[in-house]
């Protein structure tokens, strides 16, 4: 067995613990910290330290040790929390994150960085010792020593001796365990029987650290650790101050009381509780299952098509079975798809830190409110939404929300509000970033756009003006800050969202704030489609774009020019796009009155699409065309129909854009 096998698990767990720590730190009320929170933060640091020591990541161990000491004193109310302290803790978290990435890449972390953050933490510890000579008296004396040289083993006479007994272990495990323990301290003596191993260990590690290490090899109930006061010179009281053990860990033997053991285990690894209810699976494996289930659904519908031609009386049992198969296949597909769904909390949870850092930097006061954290979104989308959202949040903080004095002058609360929300709407998820800041300045955007030679005029509607800020290179910020304002951004945001099959809308009122809405499909893997026929070809229209379909009358169709036609539908004139012309289908019906018109809406605008006939509605498995081919203008993806043939899925948003920009599709794509 190779210990490096466990590296990955440790890295992932440490990542989670750090994220948790950050969240807790941000949520901490400095004046009246919640004990549970402090304990949780301490446990996170402690668990990382335990793991880091096991795998021999010295820098990580040292840094977390210092952090842990401070946190431990904070939770025992020996020191009072201050904002600088939280800042330092957050900075430490960042450094730890970098150390983790370094170790993950197989490098050693930057020693300067480690030394610097250690110095900051030691400074904090010493300041506290100086400022609170009375309150922290019992703990104050030994701590500096402990915090200055955490990794150096303490003199043997002061080192507590532990008797570690493993029961029911095989010979190979025995070897591994004794090697492990030698890494943690000095093995003074060891004996073993056929299935047990007893070691006397001189170590500065705590029993639960040792348990944490050994749990990689054997189960918790096989370990029994007893603290033996070897050195008479080291009275128990001194030991406790040297090593602020969590209360549960000093109880020995640990296995004697199952509940205590449980508590100790919980202290070692809060992630352990999660493990019982979740497993880590490679995303590729999940995707493979999704693909296979997709195949199954296709096969099922192929069978169903064939079975539909059979005599229902003669083949009643077969047809019943087919019905059941269909339901089961659908249920299976839905459950499998839900594996990929992740909560928006994954994205939202990173913003409190960003907001805190930026508002400090910008001298603003902002309260972040999130709504709809539990809203679920496909994993591939959730990862790609982070960057655009970060950009929007930065924009709101930098350009949207004003400085406190200006807010007060405008009669607003000095503290700005930034709202992040996510909710489901039909087959879409709507994510909003809204602030109660200054709002977009119509005049300035127009002036800037005209100055930059964009097609802009006073006559444009507000919506059209807001769309201007999505143009490449556009920025109205008077000075470039390092937060935002370089004019690269909104166009990238828009492009990213469009690539995900969604779109962005802006609503803004000067003086009242701005709301940016991102509308995304829930998942990219399946969609409800309407299949339409043009000539002999079948295309799929995503159902969430479809409003209605109708057979147009000759008098409702008006030619605007040679090329363009509009359709009159209940008092509204909609541009008419002929699908056969878009895709150069030769044998299609060219007379609109002979075909069917599907009214579609994309990006807030509606248009009519002429097809030959409607075939039906079904759920289709989206297959990426770009896996083996390239992007096709006007096509978002492909799918496999019940008969095994390939049908292309129409990119309605691209047609819409081509329509609006009066540009041929090829140029738009």
């Amino acid at each position: 067995m190779d210990i490096t096998e466990f590296y990955q698990t440790f890295f992932e767990e440490a990542d989670e613990l750090l994220a948790e720590m950050e969240q807790l730190l941000l949520g901490l009320d400095i004046d009246a910290p919640d004990n549970e929170h402090l304990n949780a933060i301490f446990r996170a640091a402690h668990s990382i330290k335990g793991g880091a020591a096991t795998f021999g990541f010295a820098a990580l161990t040292d840094t977390t040790h210092l952090l842990e000491n401070l946190l431990d004193r904070a939770r025992h109310r020996e020191i009072r929390l201050r904002k600088e302290m939280i800042d330092a803790f957050l900075e430490t978290k960042d450094v730890l994150q970098e150390q983790l990435s370094a170790y993950r890449a197989g490098d050693e972390p930057d020693p300067e960085m480690v030394a610097r953050i250690c110095a900051v933490l030691q400074q904090l510890a010493q300041e506290e010792n100086a400022s609170q000579p009375g309150a922290g008296a019992p703990a104050a004396a030994p701590l500096p020593a402990a915090s200055v040289a955490p990794a150096v083993p303490l003199p043997a006479s002061d080192t507590p001796q532990l008797r570690v007994r493993f029961s029911k272990v095989s010979e190979s495990d025995r070897k591994l365990l004794s090697v492990e323990l030698e890494n943690l301290g000095e093995v003074v003596a060891q004996t073993h029987t056929d299935d047990s191993l007893t070691l006397w260990l001189e170590t500065s590690c705590q029993p639960d650290d040792i348990i944490a290490v050994c749990c990689f090899v054997i189960d918790l109930d096989q370990i029994d650790i007893v603290q033996e006061a070897k050195a008479v010179a080291a009275p128990l009281a001194a030991m406790e101050t040297l090593q602020p053990l969590p209360a549960v860990a000093t109880v020995t033997p640990i296995t004697a009381a199952p509940s205590t053991a449980k508590a100790a285990a919980a202290a070692v690894a809060p992630a352990a509780a999660k493990e019982s209810s979740s497993i880590r699976v490679d995303v590729e494996k999940v995707d493979q299952i999704i693909n296979l289930v997709g195949e199954l659904v296709i096969t099922q519908s192929m069978l169903a098509q064939t079975a539909a031609t059979l005599d229902p009386v003669l083949h009643e049992r077969l047809l019943n079975g087919m019905g059941q198969l269909e339901r089961n296949a659908r249920d299976l597909q839905e459950s499998v798809m839900s594996i990929r769904m992740m909560q928006m909390d994954y994205v939202f949870s990173r913003f409190p830190r960003l907001v805190r850092d930026l508002t400090d930097k910008l001298g603003k006061q902002v309260q972040l409110v999130t709504f709809g954290k539990a809203t679920e979104l496909d994993k591939s989308l959730i990862e790609r939404i982070i960057d655009p959202l970060t950009h929007l949040v930065r924009n709101s903080l930098d350009h949207g929300i004003e400085k406190p004095e200006r807010r007060l002058a405008a009669g607003k609360d000095a503290v700005g509000q930034l709202l992040l929300s996510a909710q489901h709407q039909g087959g879409n998820i709507v994510i909003e970033v809204s602030d109660d800041g200054a709002g977009l300045d119509r005049e300035r955007i127009l002036a800037k756009a005209i100055q930059q030679g964009m097609p802009a005029s006073e006559a444009m509607s507000d919506d059209e003006v807001w769309q201007l800020i999505f143009a490449p290179g556009f920025s109205t910020a008077e000075k470039i800050t390092d937060v935002s304002g370089r004019g690269v951004g909104m166009d990238v945001v828009k492009r990213n969202i469009q690539e995900m099959g969604g779109h962005v809308e802006i609503a803004s009122r000067q003086g009242n704030g701005t709301t940016t809405r991102i509308v995304l499909p829930l998942t990219l893997a399946i969609l409800d489609g309407m299949s339409v026929k043009v000539g002999h070809e079948v295309y799929i229209l995503p159902l969430n774009y479809v409003i209605e379909s109708l057979q147009p009358r000759a008098e409702d169709i008006h030619a605007v020019s040679n090329e363009e036609q509009v359709l009159h539908v209940r008092g509204e004139y909609l541009p008419l796009t002929e699908l056969h012309r878009v895709f150069e289908v030769a044998d299609a019906r060219t007379d609109p009155t002979q075909g069917i018109v599907v009214i579609l809406h994309g990006e807030g605008k509606r248009f009519a699409l002429l097809v030959d006939q409607l075939v039906g509605q079904h759920q289709v498995v989206v297959k990426n065309l770009e896996t083996n081919y390239r992007k096709v203008p006007g096509i978002s993806a492909a799918t496999i129909l019940g008969d095994g043939s390939v049908a292309l899925i129409v990119d309605v948003a691209a047609l819409q854009r081509a329509n609006r920009e009066k540009a041929p599709l090829l140029a738009a794509a």
Partner: protein
């Protein structure tokens, strides 16, 4: 043919030998590295892709994978193109992608030693020499050996995005 199969057998022992899948386009015989070939299938109906070059017949469903099909005969500007019983699709694995090429028929698998492969002369624009790995001679038959991966990834093939093909 008997001789050819002997060659096939002995090719295993000959480190210099390279195996080629031989197919025909019109009256010419072409060879491609057999390691790039995933499988050979009948030509089935494809789904046409609008605005694609004529030599891209469309896409087809290969056990759940969407695979583009290139008609090499159109690409090489052959005349009298027919879709009949002999037409087959060679499914290739090139540059981590799956692509099918439509040819007039697959005839053989041959092992060529290094001295049986001669450098290719300059051709016209349809098949420039940079996509040829050479000309092979087997019993008075000439084989045009194509570097199929390079050809499929070439920008004018328009199969992949330019950035990815580079």
């Amino acid at each position: 043919m008997v001789n050819d199969h002997n060659r096939l057998g002995s090719g295993q022992d000959d480190p210099e030998g390279q195996k080629f899948l031989v197919f025909t386009l019109g009256s010419e015989e072409y060879g491609i590295d057999i390691l790039k070939v995933q499988e050979i299938r009948d030509y089935e109906a494809v789904t046409r892709i609008a605005h694609a070059p004529a030599f891209i017949k469309g896409v087809t469903n290969l056990r759940g994978i969407i695979v583009p099909i290139v008609d090499l005969r159109i690409k090489f500007r052959l005349e009298n193109i027919q879709y009949n019983q002999q037409s087959v699709v060679i499914i290739l694995n090139v540059a981590q992608r799956v692509v099918g090429i439509l040819v007039d028929g697959v005839s053989d698998v041959l092992t060529l030693s290094r001295d049986e492969i001669k450098p290719a002369p300059e051709f016209g624009a349809n098949l420039s020499a940079e996509y040829l790995s050479g000309l092979g001679t087997v019993e008075q038959r000439m084989l045009i050996l194509i570097d199929i991966e390079k050809l499929m990834c070439s920008p004018d093939m328009a199969l992949f995005e330019v950035a990815e093909a580079a």
